[in-house]
């Protein structure tokens, strides 16, 4: 009977030899991310920096971006960006936060609406005032940090502190490189991005836990083995599952990216990146780090794992 198997049954990749390449790769990735973040920063959406976003659809024919740019440019709203959004007849207009209080911003929305209402239908208006922008930034940072902390505590609880450290290194690696991804690609960084980052964290830790579970189990099974051999074997044993799950999740994300409309496109692209990097980091960072620390062999042997119903 035919079975699609991307990974052979008894795979034996020499992960131990690959770890050093992984570390180099990750070091470059992190350096690039941090560098890009410091050098060109993030393309912050209005959620965080405040401002106005208007999505409009041309009533007839395709949208004339050049003309809109010229017309809105004359209005002295400061920085205005206009781009096609999803289709030839749809535009996204972004206007920077205006001087003055919230009333000044609302006034601008009115003026833009009046200006474009002849040729365009306004489909979406978003405005985030400076107060809210600052609050959302604070909340976003808090969300990411507390998620990382909660996950770390959970892993600490279920495994041992060495695993917890390795997991949090892998997670931070994923979060930093995802932020780097947004910085390098200039994708808009908004509230949905925070959701994407947290989901990537959830996905990545999910993957890491599966690998850790197997390592811990194999410590009990192969009492005489070297620690590194056990780690290598565990990675190979779980590899088929790792690839399988990554592919199914990626398939779902590709569907969102292609068919889910322009609003979800960047979101899905970021998640797709996250699935790749999360899968990579479970093997090369989380398990890789474990090869450098001495793991407790007996440890919390029996307490939290149900006894198998079968004897060997």
């Amino acid at each position: 009977m035919f079975r699609l198997k991307l990974i052979p049954d008894n795979s034996s990749f020499p992960f131990l030899n690959l770890f050093k390449f992984g570390f180099v790769f990750s070091a470059i990735l992190i350096a690039l991310s941090v560098g890009s973040f410091l050098y060109q920063g993030l393309n912050l959406g209005i959620d965080f920096k405040g401002g106005i976003l208007i999505e409009a659809k041309s009533k007839q024919g395709s949208a004339d971006v050049q003309r809109l740019r010229a017309e809105l440019g004359e209005m002295s709203f400061g920085e205005v960006s206009i781009q096609l959004f999803g289709a030839e007849d749809e535009v996204l207009i972004r206007i920077q936060k205006q001087e003055g209080d919230e009333q000044a911003q609302v006034q601008v929305i009115k003026e833009v609406n009046a200006l474009i209402s002849d040729g365009y239908t306004v489909r979406r208006t978003e405005f985030v005032g400076p107060t809210i922008g600052a609050e959302l930034t604070q909340k976003g940072i808090l969300a990411v940090v507390s998620a990382l902390a909660a996950i770390m505590i959970y892993i600490w609880f279920r495994f041992e502190w060495q695993y917890s450290i390795a997991a949090i290194l892998a997670l931070s690696h994923d979060v930093i490189s995802t932020i780097g991804f947004f910085s390098l690609t200039s994708f808009e960084f908004n509230l949905a991005t925070i959701a994407a980052i947290l989901t990537i964290a959830g996905y990545s830790i999910n993957d890491t836990v599966v690998v850790f579970d197997r390592i811990r189990e194999n410590f009990r099974r192969y009492k005489s083995w070297e620690q590194n051999d056990i780690i290598n074997k565990s990675l190979n044993e779980t590899l088929s599952r790792t690839v399988m799950t990554s592919v199914t999740t990626a398939l779902a994300l590709i569907a969102i990216m292609v068919f889910g409309g322009p609003v979800l496109r960047d979101f899905a692209a970021a998640m797709l990146w996250g699935v790749l990097i999360g899968t990579y980091s479970s093997i090369f960072i989380a398990a890789g780090v474990l090869t450098y620390v001495a793991l407790n062999r007996s440890g919390d042997d029996t307490a939290d794992i149900p006894k198998p119903e079968f004897e060997e």
Partner: protein, 513 residues
């Protein structure tokens, strides 16, 4: 024979049935069926989301100014001489010219209760709101504002807008299915305080403007229509908007849009007195400190009147509506706005549905290719999972947003993970030489601890998303969280049950999974 306890079968049956019943209203509409369909977020059905702040400082300043006027009148009546009676946004202050009047002052001040802090130092008296008085005023202002907003946005009580207090001085307004978000802001944009005040005849608006001097007891106001005119009107309010009985849009004798109003009995009595004794004088109609018009009183007017001005039909309709609803206790500022037109919402739903269908087909295709008939069973679990998510969302009336749909599609991808873990485990057990039944049993029992760990961590992430997220992000976290729980059910119970049924029926000697 693989065992599957009766109670587990019962649980499966009940959960699936409940999910089916709860999800049903989303697919077909059944008459008299009590269930509700999924509550679509504003980004999917279109509508306006506004976060407003009530300007408490404006209210405080105004109240303090009223208090200062009250003190001025009391002192005049008692013939107390005072100086530098002023009010600002924090306090009212004054001092007496003659300390001999201290006892009268104390009588006047004794009327201020716990809501105020009153103190006299070095001859200067200061009156300010106490902390509790300020909080009380704040609460009352926000509550009144909510009530007025509701009356303005939903006069017929049919639109189901969400109007909630948020934090200390904020109000969240969500109006579904509105075509023109600017109109919502127009309705909330004005305080709509209507007053009738006599025009001060001693000086014209232009003179007062050029000289910068306004007679005491009067105030200089601009015209509401941008004609650059200004008026000097007496500060004393003769009749105000809270004495309105009704207001409706109509037309004046020139067929321009106007607002017809009638006053309640108190208002009518005052109106008649004032108009009766001031025939020939202009009477200013003032809306939010701007003079709408200042017609000359030609005869005594009783309960009914008309406000003419420079209105469009839409404006006169809206103005009549806000006058009926009453004045806002404080000006509102828009802190955040997200408005989605109905067309975009429909497009998003369509795109989301296509993405979900394509995503599920791709995933099913891939797992069937990988695990054959067992993959098909996992796929059945996937579909049940989808039904359960839909059912749960309908049942708890959570809001489904566009990111929420993404959450569902993502869950589809991740839900397979539990089955993959189990199947891979069974494969391993088979390679170790176990028999069919043993391998299945061992596969399940060994995979479960991993599955729990993996899903609990994702659940943690989704709970934190819910706590810290706002708006659409919350919708995402809700579907993700529900999806994790339902996928645990389908992987551990539902799909397993299918496999047990299959194995028990077919009794295969060897297992190819």
């Amino acid at each position: 024979m693989l065992q599957f306890e009766a109670w587990k079968r019962l649980v499966i049956l009940i959960v699936c049935l409940a999910g089916l019943l709860a999800a049903l209203p989303n697919v077909v509409s059944v008459p008299f069926y009590p269930g509700k369909s999924v509550n679509l977020g504003l980004d999917l059905r279109g509508g306006s989301h506004l976060l407003l702040r009530t300007d408490i400082n404006a209210v405080v300043t105004e109240r303090l100014s009223d208090i200062a006027e009250g003190i001025r009148i009391s002192f005049r009546e008692e013939k107390v001489r005072f100086k530098s009676l002023t009010s600002d946004e924090n306090s009212v202050s004054f001092s007496l010219r003659d300390e001999g009047d201290a006892s009268i002052r104390d009588t006047v001040l004794s009327e201020f209760d716990d809501d105020f802090v009153v103190g006299t130092q070095a001859g200067t008296t200061i009156i300010a709101f106490s902390d509790s008085g300020f909080l009380e005023l704040q609460s009352r202002t926000v509550e009144q504002a909510i009530e007025i907003i509701r009356r303005r946005l939903d006069p017929d009580g049919t639109k189901e807008p969400v109007i909630q207090r948020q934090g200390v001085d904020r109000i969240l307004v969500q109006v579904p299915g509105i075509d023109d978000p600017e109109r919502v802001k127009a309705l909330l944009g004005r305080t709509a305080r209507l007053t009738f005040q006599l025009v001060d005849m001693r000086i014209t608006g232009a003179e007062a403007k050029s000289s910068g001097r306004v007679p005491p007891g009067s105030v200089l106001l601009e015209s509401a229509s941008n004609d650059g005119q200004s008026y000097v009107v007496e500060k004393r309010v003769m009749v105000s908007g809270d004495m309105l009985e009704t207001a409706s849009a109509g037309f004046d004798q020139n067929n321009s849009p106007a607002i017809n109003f009638s006053l309640n009995s108190i208002g009518a009595k005052k109106f008649a007195t004032v108009t009766g004794s001031n025939i020939g004088r202009p009477f200013a109609i003032i809306l939010d400190n701007e003079v709408v018009s200042a017609p000359t009183i030609r005869a005594q007017i009783f309960a009914n009147g008309q406000i003419t001005g420079d209105f469009s039909i839409q404006e006169s309709n809206d103005l009549a509506l806000v006058l009926r609803a009453g004045a806002l206790p404080a000006p509102l500022t828009v802190l955040e706005e997200r408005s989605i037109g109905p067309g975009l919402g429909a497009d998003s739903i369509a795109a989301g549905q296509i993405a979900a269908i394509v995503g599920i087909i791709l995933v099913i295709f891939y797992i069937v290719l990988s695990y054959g008939i067992y993959g098909a069973m996992a796929s059945a679990g996937l579909l049940v999972n989808l039904m359960l998510i839909l059912g749960a969302l309908s049942l708890i009336q959570a809001t489904l947003t566009l990111p929420g749909i993404a959450g569902i599609v993502l869950t589809m991808g991740m839900a397979v993970d539990s089955n993959v873990l189990i199947f891979e485990r069974i494969r391993e057990e088979l390679r170790r030489g176990r028999g069919v039944r043993d391998a299945i049993k061992a596969g399940y029992s060994r995979a479960i601890s991993t599955i729990m760990d993996a899903n609990l961590t994702t659940l943690i992430a989704s709970i934190l998303l819910y706590i810290f997220g706002s708006g659409p992000v919350r919708g995402f976290s809700v579907t993700l969280g529900i999806g994790i729980i339902t996928s645990l059910f389908t992987a551990i119970l539902f799909t397993r049950f299918l496999i047990v049924l299959w194995i028990n029926a077919k009794k295969p000697k060897t297992l190819v999974i």
